[in-house]
């Protein structure tokens, strides 16, 4: 007989992160509540917001398109990686799709940690990585009625150079 198997234990400081791709308005308070921990003294919420000008053109809004079935696992994997790099950090993120107006949040990243330094670092890293690899696209809609897909980043896939 082997030793009594112990039940799987999730470390209280690194539960599975929370990721969602949604067409609903983003709720920062709700996301912060998901990642809060009694021993964490720092909670950081980053919001990316649609702005009214880009490259000299007046912006009416942005239409976001997402490969939802892939974007959610990609986001989850980024958050897991952040929690591995900064042990003790808890992370959550959401990205919107659909038509957003100026002033609306398109993305939010929430991080909590015992102290603030690692929260700032993890939050910045998650946003930088998300912009590189999340299968989401923005089509900027201008006040003059024109629109265009913004130039983006190519996710790494060992595909060789263009």
């Amino acid at each position: 007989m082997s030793a009594t198997p112990s039940p799987p234990v999730e470390s209280p400081s690194s539960p599975p992160p929370f990721a969602r791709i949604t067409d609903a308005p983003l709720d920062g308070e709700a996301l912060l509540a998901r990642i809060a921990h009694p021993s964490h003294g720092a909670q950081l919420l980053f919001l990316g917001v649609v702005r009214d000008m880009n490259e000299g053109k007046e912006v009416e809004g942005i239409r976001y398109e997402a490969f939802r079935e892939m974007a959610e696992p990609v986001l989850l994997s980024l958050l897991r990686s952040a929690q591995d790099q900064w042990p003790g950090v808890r992370a959550g993120a959401e990205h919107r799709f659909g038509h957003l107006h100026v002033g609306e949040a398109s993305v939010m990243v929430a991080v909590s940690s015992p102290h603030r330094a690692e929260a700032y670092e993890a939050s910045r890293w998650i946003m930088d990585e998300l912009k590189q690899s999340l299968p989401v696209w923005k089509e900027e809609l201008y006040r003059d009625g024109e629109s265009q897909w913004l130039k983006g980043n190519s996710p790494v896939s060992n595909r060789g150079e263009e």
């Binding site: 696992p73 946003m127 299968p135 130039k151 996710p155 263009e162």
Partner: protein, 81 residues
């Protein structure tokens, strides 16, 4: 064998559709799909010769072998955030 092909954003506009099926002979790799699409005429002739592709929702190299029922997604440069 048959694979499902998905297009998003700019590539969806080039293709004129979000989704199509393609019949391939066994042993085909992702770059064979790229070659077929670019040779098919229409907007997809301007697809990059080495686009980013995800098979079954994972980014993969163009040398990746395909199996029947695979989902091959063409991913234009991403611009989330």
């Amino acid at each position: 064998m048959e694979v499902d092909i998905l297009f998003f954003a700019l590539y969806r506009e080039l293709a004129g559709t979000a989704r199509m099926r393609m019949t391939l002979s066994s042993g085909c790799v992702v770059s064979d799909v790229v070659t077929r699409l670019k040779a098919g005429g229409g907007g997809l002739t301007s697809l990059p010769s080495q686009p980013v592709v995800a098979v079954n929702r994972e980014y993969v190299p163009l040398s990746t072998p395909l199996s029947s029922g695979d989902e091959v997604a063409f991913i234009p440069p991403v611009s989330g955030g």
